[in-house]
């Protein structure tokens, strides 16, 4: 069971994992002399502002993804970039610390997944472009055919080849009265349906026992502040908040030109929790005086992948991206990039049977899932930081000391940098955070703080 010239591939979903799956599949097929036909189904119009044109996420491209893409020859045009990030500022109830990398170049960018926040359409033509549309255009540039059609049902023909049924166009429905229409029979079906739509149900209904990963919800809002205010108050820094606010795990403010993206993660986060965070002195300090959260900001509550999937592949079918294995909390786009590539490589070099995906694709999923378990452990330590003042202050003290020494290896700073930027695997971050020098500095800082506290008493 393998792909040969003339094989047909259907990709359901045109977000980063879908567009990149099509792109890498066509690119690798071209290199190996195989002519594939790739149909990509994505009904969303990335030229629309607000949630209808957006695949809903914080919209930050990590340092490692940016470098990987650059080495691959994929560079992002400037019109995609809303801002570049040169540092992170960690805000806690005990003060703040700025974390800067050791290099002096811009490697992290903020982007809009769609055409931007609701209301931005008034500035026509928009001064930026959609990131997702750019990736889709890259796939189309290699020959992928984009169909702006909603997929209604999937099944298999008598030979086990996947069939894709789409929602008929209005005129087709009026003419025939049908509620779904067979679009095509394929050799391979790639599901890149994320977790936010009805797409996962299409694959759950197929015959191979797929179950989507466990998910949580984030709260994301695009807040208008004006470019000058954004630059003056946030600079080129992403601001991370680890505060003792019930319901929140962490929050972040990302500069995006005239806008600031507010991201909130936690257990059951909602607008109420968002308002509580926005009213905290640490967040208020960054907003203009008297600023209030708009009554209805452009916001969404996307589902985020927090666990492994069950059976994300079968003969001639494979799932990629958030609906399968993705990176916990950070760098979902980087995870989509990596898994799309592994999927394409597996399909072209090992074949498209369940066995081929088990040997070629599944180990990469398992590796990511194992790394995410360490990520869970790392993020569960945020409680230690949010609730134990002594630890929090010691950590800030060590970070400030590291940042003030130009030749320091900055182990704790770089571990925090990579945690917030999503630029390294959690296992590498863990190794750096648990380095004996970091441990010793933290203990020494705690002893110093205790002594100074006792002296004051």
């Amino acid at each position: 069971m393998e792909l040969t010239s003339g094989s047909r591939v259907a990709v359901i979903g045109g977000g980063p994992s879908g567009a990149l799956s099509a792109y890498f599949l066509l690119d690798l097929a071209r290199q190996t002399g195989i002519a594939l036909e790739v149909d990509l189904f994505e009904p969303r119009n990335f030229n629309l502002t607000g949630p209808p044109g957006c695949n809903m996420c914080g919209g930050v491209i990590s340092e490692s993804l940016m470098q990987k893409m650059a080495a691959e020859g994929i560079t992002l045009p400037r019109e995609l970039l809303l801002d570049t990030i040169d540092s992170y500022v960690l805000h806690t109830d005990s003060g703040a610390a700025s974390i800067r990398p050791l290099h002096d170049e811009m490697r992290i960018a903020s982007i809009f997944r769609g055409a931007g926040p609701l209301g931005a359409e008034s500035q026509s033509p928009l001064p930026w472009s959609s990131f997702d549309r750019h990736l889709l255009e890259m796939a189309k540039g290699l020959g992928a055919r984009h169909h702006a059609r909603r997929v209604r049902r999937l099944d298999r023909d008598g030979e086990g080849r996947p069939r894709v049924y789409v929602q008929p166009l209005k005129e087709e429905a009026a003419e025939s009265g049908e509620t779904e229409r067979l679009f095509g029979v394929y050799d391979l079906l790639i599901g890149c349906v994320g977790l936010n739509g009805a797409g996962v149900r299409l694959f759950e209904a197929l015959d191979f026992g797929y179950r989507p990963p466990k998910s949580d919800r984030a709260w994301v809002a695009e807040l208008y502040m004006g470019a000058e205010e954004v630059r003056r108050r946030l600079g080129h820094a992403m601001h991370i908040f680890l505060l003792d606010v019930p319901g929140m795990k962490f929050a972040a403010l990302t500069p995006k030109g005239h806008y600031v993206t507010f991201i909130l993660l936690g257990d059951d986060v909602n607008e109420e929790v968002a308002k509580r965070v926005c009213h905290s002195p640490q967040v208020r300090e960054l907003f203009p005086e008297g600023w209030e959260m708009p009554v209805r900001p452009c916001h969404c509550q996307p589902r985020i992948n927090i666990g492994p999937p069950v059976n994300p592949f079968a003969d001639r079918v494979v799932l990629v991206g958030d609906c399968a294995s993705s990176r916990l909390y950070k760098d979902g786009i980087g995870a989509a990039y990596r898994m799309a590539k592994v999927c394409a490589l597996t399909a072209l070099t090992r074949g498209i049977s369940a066995e081929a995906f088990r040997e070629g694709y599944w180990p990469a999923c398992q590796e990511m899932d194992r790394d995410n378990r360490l990520g869970h452990l790392l993020f569960s330590m945020d409680g230690l930081m949010r609730h134990v003042t002594l630890f929090r202050r010691a950590m800030l003290m060590v970070v400030r000391e590291e940042q003030s020494r130009p030749h320091d290896p900055r182990r704790l700073s770089s571990a925090l940098w990579d945690t917030f930027t999503g630029s390294a695997a959690y296992r590498h971050i863990f190794r750096r955070a648990l380095h004996p020098v970091v441990m010793w500095r933290l203990i020494a800082a705690m002893i110093r703080l205790l002594f100074s506290f006792l002296r004051k008493r």
């Binding site: 560079t75 970039l81 170049e105 590539k341």
Partner: protein
Amino acid sequence: MLFDSEKPALGREFADGEVILHEGSVGDCLYVILEGRVEVVVDDGGPEPLRLAVLEKDGFFGEMSLFSDLPRVASVRALGRVRVMSVDKRGLLRWLGDDPTLSMRILLKMVERIRLLVSEVVRLRKALREQQGG
């Protein structure tokens, strides 16, 4: 728009003529050209450095020292304003291990360079023969 200072840009900018990497230095990263052009030059003892190549957007340089600890064999200078992004050796070697297609892409670029160098040697030898013959 190229070099619109109002718009955010990735990487680091170099001014015209600025040396991005020096011949003889030990490298720990590869550079990718995001915008503009660079020239690869080597000091052959002549009055002007010998230009080996001109590289453009999406081209990369500095890859040879990633795979050996030997000093860089040529310098690279900006031709006009240039933006480049560096890719750290440690990260790149890790990704090369994980991703055979990335290794293949870098290998193909290096093969392309060897091919250009071979044709350049042939051209020079032909020119020399003609000069001696004439």
